[in-house]
């Protein structure tokens, strides 16, 4: 066993000792199985197809300590990351541990559960265990296995059948970094939407600038029949942090789900989104926007699995890469033998702002049914010089013209996000980072 893996084993043992009685035997067994699976798989290498362009050596070669529950969450300033609009509930986690003092649940309907996953595991064991670890299988991905073994806490959201939430639920994960001893946290989110329910869920990840830490999150989402979900993942980690995130979505008959991913921070970012359309007439939208500058690497892997007939999926991922940044996109659409009448569309575009930026794109189609409509398109290029010229002839200076065009490029994805406050928030951050990236490029 590699020394770096040994360290996770030790962390696991001490974490299990702390937990001891809080979890059921079933839960403990799952954690143990997940750990042994992780030790078996080890960290992925670039020789593996799924990780061909993303080396996780920076994570594997460092040691991270599991964050202990914060006794006093006082010094953490979460104000800049709070939701700007009215929200039904805001759950704040510091280094993966629930911080009730910072959270609000005032506007929540009585029947809706939104709170700590660790608490729910003991309070509503049977309800949680039906789904936990069942949507995101840990046997394939070492990071899902690691999360399953080590997660301390996370959010548990349960929207009962026939319930419509007017305002979104915000789940905020803040990392403190840990200074000299870099921290690792493995937050877990489980969202269960009952039949005919409707909700918006926003996940945010943030950390202090310059801090180096490792976040490995797994989100599991289960949708009942006719459920409608609008899901956002807003990642603005510190520019030196490592963020590995996996989202698993599973929809029943006629469930509609949209998952928007915005990646703005992190030195090494990997997002996996797997959507399983497991019921007839389901729909799924995956949208993504990422911006990388400096020497950062953003890797987005998406899989849309059409298992049942009459499902539709739409996907748009766009990336802006400046300096020496690297972008990776891998979008897979699987159409299973029975999934007739599938209608799937995927678009991937990348904008390279500098000579040294790179992108690797691989849109995949795997089709086993014949009565389907599937298309994908990928395009990589730089800003259209004609468009820049046009704007300059209208009196804009060069950098202003470029900024406007990049803004329009990103706007295509942003405008598909129904929540206005998110749109505005992301636009602001984007403007700030773009100005920085463009200055660096110029």
């Amino acid at each position: 066993m590699a020394p770096s893996l040994e360290q996770y084993k030790t962390e696991f043992e001490s974490a299990q000792r702390r937990r001891r009685t809080a979890e059921s035997a079933q839960q403990t067994r799952m954690r143990e199985d997940a750990l042994s699976r992780f030790l078996e798989l080890g960290f992925p290498t670039t020789r593996q197809e799924e990780w061909r362009f993303t080396s996780v050596a920076p994570i594997a070669s460092q040691s991270f300590t599991l964050a202990a529950p914060a006794v006093d969450a006082g010094p953490v300033d979460v104000t800049p990351f709070r939701f700007r609009d009215v929200c039904a509930a805001e759950l704040v986690f510091v280094d993966g541990h629930f911080a009730p003092a910072l959270s609000t649940r005032s506007a929540l309907l009585g029947c809706v559960r939104a709170g700590s996953l660790a608490a729910a595991v003991s309070a509503h064991a049977s309800e949680v265990e039906t789904h936990l670890g069942r949507v995101a299988p840990f046997d394939r991905s070492p990071f899902v296995a690691l999360n399953t073994a080590l997660f301390a806490d996370g959010a548990y959201l349960h929207i009962p059948a026939h319930t419509v939430l007017e305002h979104p639920i915000h789940v905020l994960f803040v990392s403190t970094g840990g200074g000299a001893a870099p921290l690792q946290s493995h937050p877990r989110v489980l969202a269960v939407l009952g039949d005919n329910s409707q909700a918006s869920i926003v996940e945010s990840y943030a950390g202090p600038g310059g801090a180096r830490y490792f976040t490995n999150v797994v989100t599991e989402i289960v949708l009942g029949q006719n459920a409608v979900l609008d899901h956002y993942k807003l990642q603005q980690e510190s520019a030196d942090a490592f963020h590995i995130g996996t989202v698993y979505l599973k929809g029943a008959r006629s469930a509609t789900c949209a998952s928007h991913s915005v990646s703005l921070g992190g030195a090494l970012v990997r997002n996996d989104v797997v959507a399983v359309l497991g019921g007839e007439g389901g729909g799924c939208t995956l949208n993504g926007l990422y911006l990388a500058d400096g020497q950062r690497l953003v890797d987005n892997h998406t899989t849309i699995d059409h298992v049942m007939p009459h499902c539709g999926s739409r996907e748009i991922y766009k990336g802006i890469l400046a300096d020496r940044a690297r972008g990776v996109f891998n979008g897979k659409i699987i159409v299973r033998p029975d999934a007739q009448k599938t209608d799937a569309k995927q678009t991937n575009r990348a904008l390279l702002l500098s000579e040294d930026a790179q992108v690797n794109s691989k849109p995949e189609l795997e089709i086993f049914a014949n009565d389907v409509k599937c298309t994908h398109g990928a395009a990589v290029g730089q800003l259209d010089e004609d468009a820049v010229f046009y704007l300059r002839s209208r009196g804009l200076d060069r950098s202003e013209a470029r900024r406007l065009l990049i803004h329009a490029f990103a706007g295509d994805v942003l405008n598909r996000m129904p929540l206005e406050s998110i749109r505005i928030g992301v636009e602001e951050i984007l403007q700030r980072q773009l100005a920085h990236a463009l200055d660096a490029a110029a």
Binding site: E355, N360, S361, P363, E364, N370
Partner: protein, 481 residues
């Protein structure tokens, strides 16, 4: 009794004379692969020492390699020790008339509309004096020689033009390239060699069909085509006739080199035995084809129509090294019954202002699995590179599959790369419309399929385009209704 006495005698004399390979004319070399066998093949072909050394290097490298498993294809293990790596030219009994030919092959000939004389030639019927293929071939050869074009079998080239072979062999596909190419480098039997001198435009389509000695080249062909500065050549490989070849494994290598301002057009129509309706038998076709646009303004076009083989594994690629060079890839791949195809292209942009176009059409029917796997890499120095890729799949029936795995690796911001793919089936309304106009369902499907492939067929030399189209309808036979 007398024969066994002879054998004993032969054995005795063999030891006495030049070692064990004296009477190879009557015998096939033993099964299996070893250094001995590689030496034997090389000696049999009277190759110079450097070529033997090259083969041995390849063989030693091959021993350290593993068979690739990343392809989206399934097949049983291949026993590399159970293959005869060199067979002396097979002497088939010449058939007296076409009546002796397998009736199924004859029916296919008729569907393809191949002229009677050609049918005879293709099925190995002794050809009469009127249509003497040998003399036809010779007249063409004379004409080519006048222009300084060298077009001969690979072994002839090794004997007569060793300096050219040595200069270009392995420059595009090195002996250590991949498992199958390395195997080929060690044991290749024969193939074609073409050299077009400076500024010459080859006046006719070069084709193995005209070169009688290229028949029976066997499993491990090696083709090398070099177009010198300003030269142009169009080369057509394979023929549209059904090949009832029972060989299991085919591992060929094709290398193209285009120098400054040269153009090479390479067209393939592949129709090896695809196996029967239950997926039994059929050829495993593992081919490495690559062209290098070494000079400025050079151009290489690959056109392939792949309708045969149980398994097709091939990725004709272009290395666009010269500035302003162009690479093109046009492909139609059909899989019916239990055929599997994992095919596509690699476009490696190294030079400035390089351009590549990829048009791939996949048709799956029956239980066929069709995969497009392509790579477009824009290297850091390749300023203003341009790529356009399009891969469309057509599905006929609900048991087949179509897969697309395009890799786009962009290292230069001035690149423009576009990729589009679509998958669809033949619309009920399209068929209905044709039926309304009096066409049978089968004809309607054929018409729609040939419309789907038109973009690729347009790239083929005229007469072959016609045949390819017919071939397509033959290979899709029985997949409708």
């Amino acid at each position: 009794m007398s024969t066994s006495t002879e054998t004993i005698e032969q054995l005795a004399t063999r030891e006495y004379k030049h070692g064990f390979y004296t009477d190879i004319e009557q015998e096939v070399i033993p099964r299996g692969l070893s250094e001995e066998i590689v030496r034997l093949i090389s000696a049999k072909k009277q190759e110079p020492a450097w070529l033997l050394e090259w083969r041995l290097q390849a063989y030693r490298t091959w021993l350290t390699m593993k068979e690739p498993t990343w392809g989206n294809i399934k097949y049983g293990p291949i026993d590399y020790q159970n293959i005869i790596y060199y067979a002396a030219p097979k002497k088939k009994p010449a058939l007296q008339s076409l009546d002796e030919v397998d009736p199924e092959i004859r029916r296919t000939f008729e569907k393809l509309g191949i002229p009677l004389e050609e049918q005879k030639l293709l099925s190995g019927v002794a050809v009469d004096a009127v249509f003497d293929s040998v003399s036809v071939a010779t007249t063409f050869k004379e004409k080519l020689a006048e222009l300084g074009i060298i077009f001969c079998s690979f072994s002839e080239a090794v004997q007569n033009h060793p300096e050219l072979v040595r200069k270009y062999l392995g420059t595009v596909v090195p002996y250590s390239d991949n498992f199958f190419a390395t195997l080929n480098s060690a044991v290749f039997s024969d193939g074609s060699f073409a050299y077009i001198p400076k500024g010459v435009r080859c006046p006719m389509e070069l084709s193995t069909y005209f070169r009688i000695n290229a028949k029976e080249t066997g499993q491990f062909e090696r083709t090398l085509i070099v177009a010198d500065e300003g030269a142009y050549v169009s080369y057509l490989e394979g023929c549209t006739a059904p090949m009832r070849d029972e060989n299991q494994l085919h591992a060929a290598v094709v290398e193209l080199v285009a120098l400054d301002n040269a153009t090479i057009k390479y067209s393939t129509v592949q129709n090896w035995y695809p196996g029967d309706k239950d997926g039994k038998g059929g050829i495993y076709n593992f081919v490495t084809k690559r062209g290098k646009c070494a000079g400025v303004n050079s151009k290489i076009t690959w056109t392939q129509v792949e309708t045969g083989s149980a398994i097709t594994w091939k990725y004709p690629g272009c290395i666009l090294q010269g500035d302003n060079s162009i690479g093109e890839f046009y492909s139609v791949a059909t899989t019916n019954n239990w055929q599997q195809a994992d095919t596509g292209t690699k476009m490696i942009h190294l030079g400035k202002n390089t351009k590549s176009t990829i048009v791939s059409k996949g048709i799956s029917a029956g239980h066929g699995q069709n995969t497009y796997r392509g790579l477009v890499r824009i290297a850091k120095g390749a300023r203003s590179a341009h790529n356009y890729s399009q891969c469309d799949s057509l599905l006929i029936g609900d048991k087949c599959g179509a897969h697309t795995f395009p890799y786009l690796e962009i290292r230069n911001s001035s690149a423009t790369v576009e990729h589009e793919a679509s998958t669809s089936k033949i619309g009920e309304d399209q068929i209905f419309y044709c039926r309304q106009r009096g066409l049978s369902t089968e004809d309607a499907v054929n018409m729609i399929v040939s419309g789907f492939c038109k973009e690729v067929f347009r790239q083929l030399p005229m007469e072959f385009a016609v045949e390819a189209q017919k071939l397509l309808s033959v290979s899709l036979e029985g997949s409708v209704g």
